[in-house]
């Protein structure tokens, strides 16, 4: 591969100069001051050729591993045929991907709005619910993490949320998994209930199937829109195509994350029912995205969906997820202060007890060639989310590195 021709030291200097210096310190403290050089499948290599198993996958973007060949060749071909296009226009690429996404999604979700990034998809989901129901209130649960943009931030549990002035009004946060609160909070004023069925950044806390079913019932009763954000748990990561399959619940709106572009093109989607699209049909071009659903991105995503359908990585995710989980449980068991392993499929988190220990673990793991990160909400947890095409030998390598990293603490 083409080297940048710059040493890590020079890049670090540039980082200090152009980005917040505390960002560089944070990278060092968690063992992430690594130049991401070559990438291939489950691995990345730094500029010195040291190999790491990528268990961050940039927040579950690389579900099909780093640089999936089929997506690259489709993209290379598309580059000579199309570009991003004029965003308000009808396009063959957009129409084709929308049909593919609809067929790939749970039955009943057949309309699509594309975006570039998760926050944008969640912001749109909230807008769609408010516009359709003509109601103001959005109900969410604690421990959530939806992204950086306005609505997404307003719904997320993060320590800095108070720093940005008054956010979107009429947002109500209820305790996760609490049936009584849900029944009380969701009323005729409620436009939407927005939830991640599996809260990745909150130590992979997963909703019980019955809780999701109850939310579905409550929403149906009062006419509220049920929104699932499966940005991290979707597209095979949880051991099913979507985590919602464990409950059999189909929401009215599903946020599909950036794994849609397989890490080769930034594209995400919000899929929803025909009924909700009545509002959008009556108000065309009321929500726009210049880069969302760009024609090139659509070609990349079509190739990615074909690969998902061909490889069915959710099957491997289920098998390898069990192996990973069993191994992690062995490591955690008997450690003082460390709690349980939580998650589903190849989305697992261990609780290290304290934030400091979680960070120390990440640092120690990086030294041993394993890249992991703490949760953004539950910072004492460490999340494991490798490529879904990972082999049992590679899982063993993850476990070996994790065990050594934990042993040194």
């Amino acid at each position: 591969m083409k080297r940048s021709g710059k040493s890590g030291k020079k890049i670090l200097e540039d980082y200090r100069r152009y980005f917040p210096s505390s960002f560089v310190e944070e990278m060092r403290a968690t063992g992430r001051d690594i130049v991401e050089s070559e990438r291939d499948g489950a691995f990345i290599y730094d500029e010195n050729g040291k190999r790491y198993i990528d268990c961050i996958t940039s927040g579950s973007i690389y579900n099909l591993g780093r640089r999936p060949r089929a997506v690259i060749s489709a993209l290379k071909k598309a580059v000579r045929q199309t570009d991003q296009g004029n965003f308000p226009m009808i396009s063959i690429e957009k129409a084709a991907l929308a049909a593919r996404v609809a067929a790939f999604s749970p039955a009943g979700l057949e309309c699509v709005v594309f975006s570039v990034t998760r926050g944008e998809s969640v912001d749109f989901a909230c807008k769609l619910a408010r516009g359709s129901t003509k109601r103001p209130e959005i109900v969410t649960v604690d421990g959530s993490w939806f992204g950086q943009t306005g609505f997404a931030l307003s719904l997320s549990e993060r320590s800095d949320r108070g720093m940005y002035g008054p956010l979107i009004p009429d947002v109500v946060t209820i305790p996760f998994g609490d049936y009584a609160s849900a029944a009380k909070a969701v009323t005729g004023r409620t436009a939407a209930v927005v939830i991640e069925p599996l809260q990745t950044e909150n130590g992979c806390r997963a909703a019980y199937p019955e809780y999701l079913r109850e939310l579905r019932r409550i929403c149906d009763r009062v006419g509220a829109v049920l929104v699932f954000d499966e940005t991290q748990s979707g597209l095979g990561r949880s051991g099913k195509k979507f985590y919602l399959e464990y409950s059999g619940v189909v929401p009215d709106v599903l946020v599909i994350g950036e794994a849609l572009g397989a890490g080769m093109f930034p594209i995400a989607a919000t899929v929803f029912t025909k009924k909700l699209n009545r509002f959008m049909n009556a108000h065309p071009l009321i929500h726009l995205s210049t880069f969302g659903g760009s024609d090139l991105g659509c070609m990349a995503a079509i190739a990615a969906i074909e690969l998902y359908e061909k490889l069915r990585p959710w099957d491997n995710s289920e098998t390898m997820g069990k192996r990973l989980r069993d191994g992690l449980e062995k490591i955690v068991r008997g450690r003082r202060g460390a709690g349980t392993v939580r998650g589903s499929g190849l989305l697992q988190a261990i609780d290290m007890g304290t934030i400091e220990k979680a960070r120390a673990f990440c640092r120690a793991a990086a030294k041993r060639g394993l890249l992991v990160m703490p949760g953004a909400v539950e910072a004492s947890s460490v999340i494991f989310r490798p490529s879904l095409l990972i082999t049992s030998i590679q899982v063993n390598a993850i476990l070996e590195a994790a065990e050594k990293a934990a042993g040194g603490l």
Binding site: I90, G150, I168
Partner: protein
């Protein structure tokens, strides 16, 4: 001029020499219908109707330089909409495509939490081309995301809430950006939005001055309002706001998503006035028309640095500042600097503007005003209903230009900045011919438009959609009949 004539007899366009497959594929009527139905079913039926009513239902193919070919009609058109300013470096710019292909050969999007030499390189290049003082960089996934990041940074750093925006302003569709949009149209179905946003008339110093005080977090402005219908701010206006922000410790945010990257005859529009903002949001053309990217540049003020010390991850971007995106953006910047693209934009802009001014003085019953800077030019018509009619007339003359839903009486001309003098002259000729066609139609429409009720009807978006769709289906019917007659012969 017959828009449905065969592709082989088309004027010199980019299609034949673009050489994608050697010959041009034109979509049959049925095939186009199938695409539209797929789009309508899975994306938006209302959008299809709306675009058809406005004669904007083209299917872009052969996207090269300043032109693309409509797959359905075989018409080659000059792109004067450019996704609202995304194709400044030209469509499918060879240098940009080479960079993209090169990147596809070795990297992927990368990971924001690790170190990337390309991220560092792009940050350095952006700072080099930016107005002096904007020394630091965040990446974002697009315009709205960049604006959200900017407003969060301003509120976070000042600890204040009030954000002053302008009437008709357009900043995007994500939570903060939407809250800063100064047009009810985009907001009203999604309220309540964020409190603390105040709106004042644009380019009116007396209106904004009393609003800026010690509780102001930020003033956010487009140096030239784009979606609103191309309204440039005066240099004095921007300079005085800069002074007021300094006096009260408020952040000045410029949204240069549409105006940036050489569009207005300078690398960034704020250079015309010499006013440097504290925070500047960028997107669109930074992606070279092929790969999403965006950036926020900011001055390392003490208040900002203090805030970032604790909150460096306040707006991380997984999808902006990707490795592929940065390599594409680096090629875009290199192309712009090497060709001094802003100079070409200024020269071409003067040429186009002078011609449109002349057209205006010849046709005072059709054109009210010509505004803009560089190659960001708007023509305002006397009546709103002229927008869709002009779109169609221009398309028939080989120019694709869109009226804004935000301001249907204004047609925007924002062609790729790589347009040659010949291209600009072709746009001018098309505009002339389009106005000529309008003149022929107006004796029918204008007397009716004098009746207030009819005018209201004509200007109503919904009525237009129904009416123009009905006209379109008549045209389609005529097309089918002509085809049948031809086949019968």
């Amino acid at each position: 001029m017959d828009g449905r004539r065969g592709p082989r007899r088309d004027r010199k366009g980019g299609a034949m020499r673009s050489g994608v497959s050697g010959k041009r594929a034109v979509l049959g009527r049925e095939e186009k219908k199938r695409v539209e139905e797929q789009f309508a079913r899975h994306i938006n039926r209302g959008q299809v109707k709306y675009l058809k009513a406005g004669h904007l239902d083209v299917l872009e193919s052969m996207r090269r330089g300043v032109r693309f070919t409509d797959l359905a009609t075989g018409r080659t058109m000059i792109d004067c909409f450019t996704s609202a300013g995304c194709f400044n470096a030209g469509r499918s710019n060879p240098l940009v495509l080479a960079a993209l292909e090169d990147a596809l050969g070795s990297v992927d999007m990368g990971s924001w939490m690790l170190m990337s030499p390309w991220k560092a390189a792009l940050a350095r290049e952006l700072v080099e081309v930016a107005p002096k003082g904007l020394e630091r960089v965040f990446f974002a996934s697009g315009g709205g995301d960049a604006v959200d990041c900017s407003i969060k940074l301003a509120r976070g750093a000042t600890g204040r809430h009030t954000v002053i925006s302008t009437v008709k302003a357009y900043h995007g569709h994500t939570g903060f950006a939407l809250s800063a949009n100064g047009k009810e149209h985009y907001r009203r179905h999604f309220e309540p939005l964020m409190p603390g946003f105040e709106f004042v008339p644009f380019n009116d110093l007396d209106a904004i001055a009393p609003h800026i005080n010690d509780s102001t977090a930020a003033v956010i402005l487009e140096p030239i309002q784009g979606e609103a219908g191309i309204f440039p701010a005066s240099d004095e206006y921007l300079a005085e706001i800069r002074r007021l922000c300094d006096r009260h410790g408020a952040m000045l945010i410029f949204d240069e998503v549409q105006t940036g990257f050489c569009r207005t005859g300078r690398f960034f529009a704020c250079e015309h006035s010499g006013v440097v903002p504290d925070i500047m949001a960028l997107a669109k053309s930074i992606g070279g028309g092929v790969f999403p990217n965006g950036a926020v540049l900011y001055r390392p003020l003490k208040s900002i640095e203090r805030f970032l010390e604790k909150h460096h991850d306040f707006h991380v971007s997984y999808n902006g500042g990707t490795d592929i995106g940065c390599r594409v953006s680096l090629a875009v910047l290199r192309f712009m600097r090497e060709t001094r693209l802003w100079e070409q934009a200024e020269r071409s802009g003067n040429r186009l503007r002078a011609a449109l001014e002349e057209l205006k003085s010849e046709n005072p019953t059709i054109i009210r005003e010509v505004r803009g800077r560089g190659l960001m030019i708007g023509i305002e018509y006397i009546h709103e209903f002229m927008g869709p009619m002009m779109s169609d007339a221009l398309a028939r003359n080989g120019v694709f230009a869109a009226y804004s839903g935000n301001a249907p009486q204004v047609m925007r001309f924002m062609p790729p900045l790589v347009a040659s003098d010949d291209d600009i002259d072709a746009i001018i000729a098309a505009a002339r011919a389009a106005v000529g066609m309008m003149k022929a139609l107006l004796p029918l429409a204008l007397p009716a438009a004098r009746i207030p009720f009819v005018l209201r009807m004509l200007n109503s978006e919904r009525v237009q959609t129904v009416l123009f769709n009905w006209l379109r289906s008549l045209e389609d019917l005529a097309g089918v009949l002509t085809e049948k007659r031809r086949k019968a012969k």
